[in-house]
Amino acid sequence: MRATGGPDVGVGDVLLSVENVSLSFGGVKAVSDVSFDIRKGEIRAIIGPNGAGKTSMLNVINGFYHPQQGRITFKGQTRAKMRPHDAAYGGIARTFQNVALFRGMTALDNIMAGRTLKMHSNFFWQLLRYGPAMREEVDHRHRVEEIIDFLKIQEIRRVPVGRLPYGLQKRVELGRALAMEPELLLLDEPMAGMNIEEKEDMSRFVLDVNDYYGTTIALIEHDMGVVMDLSDRVVVLDHGIKIADGTPDEVKRNQAVIDAYLGVAH
């Protein structure tokens, strides 16, 4: 269970809500008529068996997929579809199920890349790397160093990420997302393929991000232990349909969820 005193369950204002969202690819229904909300400061988990539509849902939220039906309200602004740059400028950052870093670049540069949207000096100064551009870079570097310190990856600062083990790559990816100073952080299976120790580390970082930066987090995860420990509220999808929504305890007891995970006799 979460430590006491954290953001209270469901008390914060609604940061993002999706209403009656449906998404299909050709004849395949990925998500149908799903509604839920994410409140400020909480850790919200989206779970479900393989192919339940979890990643599709995340892609709808950050505007990568455009739903055929439904509305998305983010920070009070209602849209039929989100666009990726609106999402990014609006403060939504994400990590990917399969690591999507610049493999030839160092960990430091990868995280620096996350600051791109926060750079304001013009092209000319950037080209010269002088004057306002230099001051800005120093400032950004400071922020990035704070993130490196936060994620305890000082020793790999100068290592090209392609040479790093998987667990560390995931951490660098989280760092890049954090560099955007997001209000809402979408994590797509942050613990997939990790060993127990790496999972524990990552869980600790997710909690710390939520606690220290106050970032709202939506995460997709398969490891039930992790989900139940980390999240304030859980939404469960199965075959694109929402079958449950509530606190981890409620969801754990929900018969539809148990059936979806364990299967039912036909």
């Binding site: 160093e145 305890k152 000082q154 710390d208 220290y212």
Partner: protein, 655 residues
């Protein structure tokens, strides 16, 4: 620096004040934070420590009380030590990676009311054993991250304590009171309690006094001519006597700058950036560094590889002699100079050794080849011998008298003698005043005439007059046929091969010698990659037939070298096996300072040992492993055993 610059200052706080006076603007401490090296001068450190001491006093820390220091090498933890000493309290450093059990033992035994801790990780560990440390009242933390939701009635931030003290210090009366406190500390007061790593059973609290610590450090600072211009990197555990002596005590006495790495994993990079002039590394670290260099050279291009090996050969021939100031033919000097530009210089730079003036290694015997390698590339590496009870040094090699197999003559003002049963005993300026709350143990290691028994077997070399350490007295055994069996000696020969990380030799009261080996994952892994050997885990690699074949060759080499020595020829290795898991301090198989705990290993791997001696070709074993968070799991394996043909005594090698 004048040899007796420490004269007059018989405690560390007094030394700190002296340093702030003489070296006020010189760097005392550096720490890399957010990627940038931060520096504190001696006068800044004094200011902070004074404020910190007052803050601690206001929390209730009193003279004579103990305070635990738990964490890595961070300036604030060193300042915690200084601040406690300023109040006449006794700091008790604890290893940062100690598992909760060990931590609970030390905290409870030392009866601490306060603990200065690094971060949440340490706090969690202490909280998990709180029931066993009833006296603990308050934890003062350096890093606030992750602590927001904790119960803060038992927690204080170090910054707040220092700030609180600073405000109080504005009152002249408080400042005067602090000055009086500092003056009130006497040289004979205990300055620190260092818990031994416990090679033999539970750890004991070694009490050291101010005066003796300062005196011992003064002797060695003079011996190695350390000055305020030197720099050291504090990367070894803060709770280890070596760090407390080499960095803390010597730094205080000589005024040199102690740099703290950014994190434990960045020590290599930090070493290179700081370029220390005084360096200490246990043989194991030197070995790991060399292994890494060798692996990288194997991956280098043809020309680079040839160049490297050629000049390493040159260095082997001339390097040590040049370092020792012996006469070397002109061509040798010339070649060495070229090699220095092309290979040794850049190599030392990569390793962070470019500015090292004095380097020491100790802790266990160092492989002669390993030792000469570093010396041959121009690193002034020397050996010392000592233990926590001696406050580290009792012998050290003077410049120009360096031998791989000795640990040097007695240090200035140290008396050393060999007892009848071959045990090394010493009396030194820095020797401990007793084990904390354990007079029986103290009496056990002290002789009636005031010498300390080291438990190490050794003798003075007739040629050089240096002390030679063979092994722990109680470890030197005999085979059933009467042949001497010093396990360390055999193990060290094995461990010199980069592929072998650890070895445990068996043979006492048995018919022949056998060994259990640990492969070095970095070295063997790289070999596997180059030779297309596929493996899924450490266990699988360790059991691979090709790996066995490779190690068999190493064992055969060792047998040949044992055969060359008449006394040891009977102690050749007859059978060996490769362990399925790495020996790990978390499982209690080796100590935190990475020494094998023989008794425990023998018990734990009893089925394997039985198989080694009953002629079986393989044996099943399942062992419990402890994960870093304290949980336990089991791993089991079937381990193969190889027979060796004894090497003939070196008859044909008469050339």
């Amino acid at each position: 620096m004048a040899p007796n610059a420490a004269a007059g200052a018989d405690t560390f706080p007094k030394l700190l004040i002296r340093n702030a006076h003489i070296y006020g603007a010189r760097p005392a401490m550096r720490h890399k934070d957010l990627g940038i090296w931060q520096t504190w001068t001696w006068s800044e450190v004094l200011d902070i420590v004074r404020a910190y001491a007052v803050g601690l006093h206001r929390l209730g820390l009193k003279r004579g009380e103990t305070i635990a220091i738990v964490g890595g090498n961070r300036p604030k933890l060193y300042w915690s030590v200084m601040a406690a000493q300023m109040l006449g309290a006794i700091p008790v450093p604890v290893y940062a990676d100690a598992v909760a059990d060990e931590l609970a033992y030390v905290l409870a035994h030392a009866e601490v009311r306060f603990a200065a801790v690094e971060d949440q990780e340490q706090i969690d560990k202490i909280l998990s054993v709180l029931a066993r440390v009833p006296k603990l009242e308050l934890m003062i933390y350096d890093e606030k991250r992750g602590l927001r939701d904790y119960d803060h009635s038992r927690l204080r931030s170090m910054d707040d304590v220092i700030e609180d003290g600073r405000k109080a210090l504005a009152d002249a009366a408080v400042a005067a009171w602090l000055d009086k406190e500092i003056a009130a500390s006497k040289g004979a007061d205990p300055s620190i309690i260092l818990y031994t790593s416990g090679t033999t059973g539970t750890s004991k609290g070694v009490m050291l006094t101010n005066e003796r610590s300062v005196r011992a450090a003064t002797d060695t600072v003079t011996f190695d001519k350390l000055t305020e211009n030197d720099v050291a990197l504090a990367y070894l555990p803060l709770a280890w006597v070596g760090d407390h002596y080499l960095n803390y005590a010597q730094g205080m006495v000589s005024g040199f700058c102690t740099a703290c790495p950014e994190s434990p994993d960045t020590a290599m990079t930090d070493l290179r950036e700081i370029g220390p002039s005084f360096y200490f590394a246990p043989p194991r670290t030197l070995e790991a560094l060399l292994t890494r260099v060798m692996i990288r050279m194997e991956d280098a291009g043809f020309i680079k590889r040839k160049l490297f090996h050629y000049f390493v050969g040159v260095a082997r021939r001339y390097g040590e002699r040049i370092l020792n100031g012996e006469s070397v033919p002109l061509t040798g000097r010339l070649l060495y100079a070229i090699g220095n530009v092309l290979v040794y210089g850049p190599l030392k730079n990569v390793l962070g050794f470019s500015r090292v003036r004095v380097a020491y290694t100790a802790g266990e015997a160092v492989g002669p080849d390993l030792f000469s390698f570093y010396r041959s590339i121009g690193l002034n590496l020397k050996q010392l011998y000592g233990q926590t009870e001696a406050f580290l040094y009792v012998t050290a090699q003077p410049d120009g008298e360096i031998y791989a197999d000795t640990v040097g003559p007695a240090c200035p003002n140290v008396d050393i003698r060999i007892s009848e049963n071959g045990e090394v005993q010493f009396k030194s300026p820095g020797m401990f005043s007793g084990y904390f709350k354990d007079d029986a143990k103290t009496a056990e290691v002290m002789t009636p005439d005031g010498f300390v028994k080291t438990g190490d077997a050794g003798f003075f070399d007739e040629k050089t007059g240096h002390l030679k350490i063979i092994d722990r007295t109680k470890d030197v055994g005999k085979l059933n046929n009467g042949t001497m069996f010093p396990p360390k000696y055999i193990e060290n020969k094995l461990k010199f091969f980069p592929n072998i990380r650890e070895a445990v030799a068996l043979g006492d009261k048995r018919d022949f010698v056998t060994v259990m080996l640990n492969i070095d994952l970095a070295a063997v892994g790289s070999w596997a990659e180059r030779n297309n050997v596929v493996y899924g885990s450490y266990q699988e690699l360790a059991g691979h037939p090709l790996v066995y074949e490779m190690l068999e060759k190493h064992v055969a080499d060792v047998n040949r070298s044992l055969a060359d020595d008449k006394v040891m020829a009977g102690a050749q290795i007859k059978r060996f096996l490769i362990l399925h898991k790495e020996l790990d301090p978390d499982d209690g198989e080796i100590t935190r300072t990475l020494k094998v705990r023989r008794g425990f290993v023998a018990e734990r791997y009893a089925p394997l040992i039985k198989a080694l001696y009953d002629g079986s070709k393989e044996a099943d074993i399942s062992t419990e492993v402890t994960f870093e968070d304290g949980r336990k799991g089991m791993i089991s394996a079937r381990v193969k055993i190889r027979d060796m043909n004894g090497a003939a005594p070196a008859m044909g090698k008469a050339a």
